[in-house]
């Protein structure tokens, strides 16, 4: 049992990724490379309508333009990404299953290892799981139950086939293909993803969730998620990620779009634990995701909650555009980095409507040689009378070789707005540990307790099912044993 801070830090800093294993499933893979042909191939493979193909091609065009000059403003050096070396399509060969029995037993075993057996979840948690394994939706459960309510919850591919009007209306309306280089890439080559539509006045009876996994070697994952909550609707969506161990870097450039109409509410929660690279900083996933929601109607609400413990580089800013009057945006985040991990994450709250409110709580924990940055923007437009924002971003440093950084941007063009921002950076105070020691807790447990308390404000915002997993992840990261 380690007794000093140093021992503990050493122990969990050195801890290797626990979920590193690879599922062997037959794959159909497109040779690496990106050009118009690739895009046409993907589109044809998925039997997409012409308008979507054209949309993808426009995405490709913007990607070519934007990738000429990769962004430099971020607080880390962007590793060179050879977009031509990535294979843009991979799908498990076996499809169209009617029951869980038909699912490849290996996939089921994978989920079991992750502690999320489909059957159990189905029975226990009442969670509908749209399991995505390398791009194509393998199995969707609980669909019938949802259908009764009129809720559409399916893979993006199915949505394009069965509900083209809805997809056409909303796809790219929040994150256009010209938004940034990775969003453009996603628009061009997105493989699949989840689609959710909650009709007027319906409260989704269960937490919707998707488990993302990156599997085959050399395939970036380009998910596209679209969630629409009609007037007065409510939906809570969970996204959880783990990835198998691998040595080369993998690119993940997903796009998530949320649309909340009048009085609607969307809650989006993420637990991300992709392969962070080994303790020397080799390998690991690049998590470059564009997530954005729009509160279109008055009194609507969008809430992002994220627990980020994985990925070599996490680079994302789940944002909310507060367009409707009295709409509310929330962002709760815990980002934990260790070894050589990098996180540059935060949010953007764009206040456009009157009486809009936003709340940002960000907790960073950095250890080892990692660099953890909060970058956020709160913008108040000239017509956003009485906008209100509260931002708190705290950083906890464990060890003297890591870094914690805050880059908040506060832009206000309205004299009636009230914006508050506060940030603190510190390490765990020795007197706190001492106090817990003398109450009989060893230092390891004391650190875990303090970190848990520190992150509690965010963890409390996760749905029950996820809070457990998130706590487990933090615990694993901290005490070096399976929690």
């Amino acid at each position: 049992m380690p007794t000093t801070d140093q021992d503990i830090l050493q122990k969990y800093s050195d801890q290797e990724y626990e979920f590193g294993f690879e599922t062997r499933v037959e794959m159909e893979i497109l040779p690496p490379g990106l050009n118009e042909e690739t895009v046409r191939f993907i589109s044809a493979k998925k039997e997409e309508p012409e308008w979507l193909l054209q949309w993808r091609l426009k995405g490709l065009e913007h990607f070519r333009r934007l990738s000429q000059e990769m962004p430099e403003w971020q607080n880390f050096k962007l590793p060179h990404i050879d977009f031509q070396a990535i294979s843009y399509y991979a799908a498990p060969k076996k499809r169209k299953l009617n029951s869980l029995d038909e699912v490849d037993p290996e996939i089921l075993a994978t989920f079991e290892k992750l502690g999320i057996p489909l059957e159990e979840q189905k029975v226990l948690a009442g969670v509908a799981v749209d399991a995505v394994m390398d791009s194509v939706s393998v199995k969707t459960t609980f669909q019938e139950k949802l259908r009764e309510k009129g809720i559409i919850f399916c893979s993006m591919g199915e949505a394009i086939k069965n509900h083209p009007d809805l997809v056409k209306k909303y796809l790219g309306s929040v994150v256009p293909y010209s938004d940034n280089v990775f969003a453009a890439l996603n628009a061009a080559v997105f493989s699949d993803g989840s689609f959710c539509y909650v009709p007027k006045g319906v409260r989704c009876p269960m937490e919707l969730s998707t488990y993302f996994r990156i599997n085959a070697s050399n395939t970036g994952q380009f998910e596209r998620t679209l969630i629409i909550a009609e007037e007065g609707a409510y939906v809570s969506y969970l996204e959880g990620c783990t990835a198998p161990k691998r040595d080369e870097n993998q690119l993940h450039a997903a796009v998530v779009e949320l649309i909340a109409l009048d009085h609607a509410e969307i809650k989006y929660s993420t637990v991300q634990n992709w392969f962070p690279g080994d303790k020397n900083g080799n390998g690991g996933v690049f998590n470059f995701v564009t997530k954005r929601g729009i509160c279109k109607g008055p009194h609507s609400k969008i809430s992002w909650t994220q627990v980020e413990t994985g990925s070599a580089i996490t680079w994302k800013y789940p944002s909310v555009i507060l367009q409707g009057d009295y709409s509310v945006g929330e962002f709760y985040s815990v980002a934990m980095t260790r070894n050589h991990q990098i996180a540059d994450t935060g949010t953007k709250m764009i206040h456009l409507g009157k009486h809009t409110r936003s709340r940002i709580i960000s907790k960073g924990i950095s250890a080892g040689y990692s660099q953890n940055s909060y970058r956020g923007q709160v913008r108040v437009g000239p017509r956003a009378d009485y906008a209100r924002n509260f931002t708190q971003c705290d950083s906890l440093l464990l060890g003297d070789k890591c870094g914690a950084h805050t880059f908040p941007y506060i832009d206000c063009q309205n004299p009636t707005a009230i914006l508050e921002h506060e940030a603190t950076t510190s390490k765990i105070a020795e007197d706190q540990i001492f106090y817990l020691n003398q109450r009989g807790l060893d230092t390891e447990k004391a650190v875990a307790l303090i970190v848990n308390g520190y992150a509690r404000e965010v963890l409390n915002n996760l749905p029950m099912e996820f809070a457990v997993e998130a706590q487990k992840l933090l615990a694993i990261s901290l005490d070096g044993s399976v929690g």
């Binding site: 108040v380 003297d400 890591c402 908040p408 941007y409 832009d411 206000c412």
Partner: protein, 445 residues
């Protein structure tokens, strides 16, 4: 997409660049070592041009507009009536030693004799001083700011303030600028405060003519061990001025640096870079600032507090009151470098918007590479507290008086940092003079 501006002013400068030795106007010769700095700086400026909004540090501060016209390098000295100007600029009851500068040139006969141990040097005295070779361009230039390089390249000479003994009364450096046509006026100061010196220093900026001027002021300041230095910077330039002000200060151990920065409606464009770098342990840097903006003004305060060694403290508080169509920009960086343990660094930034057309951009920023630290920042944007206003109204104050009182209270946090009553009083007068609460009253009030 270029990240720099290469406009006609830039072209003019590149074409008209002369090293001092070929320059007829200069009666001073530059030592070879310093000339190298100038040459290097010119090359840097030539490559980098003026920063554009594509650069993170200039994101909200667009130089393209203010530098649209060509500011000429003045051919000869402008004559101005400084006597009245000095009388107007002097601060009542401050009993300061006046040091008068016109377009960066020391006006010895109009300045007060300086006390024992305080040396103000210009021309060849400054150029050939032993500190010049040691320190000139060693602080500000490495920051890689192209406007600093521009300053180094284009200054005909610089001033050196060497303080060897504490002063009984404050120094007051009056920076006057005058030009009959659009002029580019670079000015440079090198300050060295020797061990255990305590001094207060008032820095005021004025323009005597109405032609547009681009003032590029760079100061490099060394505070040696145990120095206690207070600087009160008061910017009173009119709308014809475009101002770039860069001060870079190195603190040796146990020194204290206290910088209070005031600006008022006037200069159309103000960019201040106020940087303090702690190189010796147990030093302390305090940066305070208050800006009242008006008209179409842009006031941009960028500060850096750089904790390079352990056991230093820093405090920072910038407050802004924005009127009319003005824009306020604040960027406060705190760096805590590796090994700078036991650091306490605090920063605060508040802004009040008094007009619908005013805009504020704030970016408080922490970059921390050591773990045993206490760092925090807070930032707010808002308006007057309605409850406080209501309370004052119930006590019989008119809406106007009540609002005025609340704004003065808001400003008081910074004014109280001025450890000199005469200066604080003077600044309060300026604040009252430039504040027009009436226009901020809600309709019907």
């Amino acid at each position: 997409m270029s990240k720099s501006i290469f406009n006609s002013f830039y072209q003019y400068l590149i074409e008209n660049y002369r090293l001092p030795e070929d320059n007829q106007r200069n009666d001073v010769t530059w030592p070879k070592a310093l000339l190298e700095h100038k040459q290097k700086a010119f090359e840097f400026f030539k490559t980098h041009g003026f920063p554009s909004t594509k650069q993170e540090d200039w994101k909200y501060t667009n130089l393209a507009g203010p530098l649209q016209q060509v500011f000429h390098i003045p051919a000869n000295d402008t004559v101005a009536d400084l006597k009245t100007a000095i009388a107007n600029a002097s601060i009542k009851d401050a009993h300061a030693y006046h040091i008068v500068l016109l377009n960066g040139k020391w006006q010895r006969e109009l300045s007060d004799p300086l006390p024992d141990g305080v040396h103000f040097l210009d021309g060849k005295d400054a150029l050939h001083h032993y500190y010049a070779e040691e320190y000139f361009a060693s602080l500000a230039d490495p920051t890689g700011v192209s406007l600093v390089a521009m300053n180094t390249a284009f200054i005909p000479a610089f001033n050196l303030l060497h303080i060897q003994k504490s002063t009984d009364r404050p120094l007051h450096i009056m920076h006057f600028y005058a030009a009959n046509e659009p002029a580019f006026l670079p000015e440079r100061l090198l300050l060295v405060a020797e061990e255990s010196v305590q001094t207060q220093w008032i820095d005021t900026f004025h323009q005597l003519t109405s032609a547009p001027v681009f003032i590029n002021y760079v100061a490099e300041q060394f505070l040696k061990e145990h120095v206690a230095m207070d600087i009160f910077l008061i910017n009173q330039l009119p709308s014809s001025a475009v101002v770039f002000h860069h001060s870079e200060t190195y603190l040796h151990s146990q020194s204290t640096y206290h910088h209070v920065n005031f600006s008022f409606p006037g200069a159309g464009f103000i960019r201040n870079n106020i940087n303090a770098r702690m190189q010796g342990s147990s030093s302390e840097a305090n940066l305070w600032g208050l800006y009242l903006s008006g008209g179409q003004q842009l006031v941009d305060n960028h500060t850096i507090v750089d904790h390079q060694v352990a056991s230093c403290n820093s405090n920072e508080w910038y407050k802004g009151i924005l009127q009319d169509k003005s824009t306020g920009v604040f960027n406060g960086k705190i760096f805590v470098e590796k090994g700078a343990q036991k650091t306490n660094a605090f920063q605060k930034n508040n802004a009040i918007l008094l007009s619908r057309e005013a805009t504020v951009h704030a970016k408080p920023q922490l970059e921390i590479f050591a773990d045993d630290v206490k760092c925090s920042h807070g930032s707010t944007v808002g308006q007057m507290n309605e409850d406080a206003l209501f309370y004052l109204r119930t006590r019989g104050l008119s809406e106007l008086t009540a609002r005025q009182l609340l704004i003065e209270a808001f400003a008081y946090d910074i004014l109280s940092k001025v450890q000199n009553d005469a200066v604080a009083h003077h600044v309060m007068q300026l604040l009252r003079q430039h504040l027009h609460v009436e226009s901020a009253l809600p309709a019907g009030a």
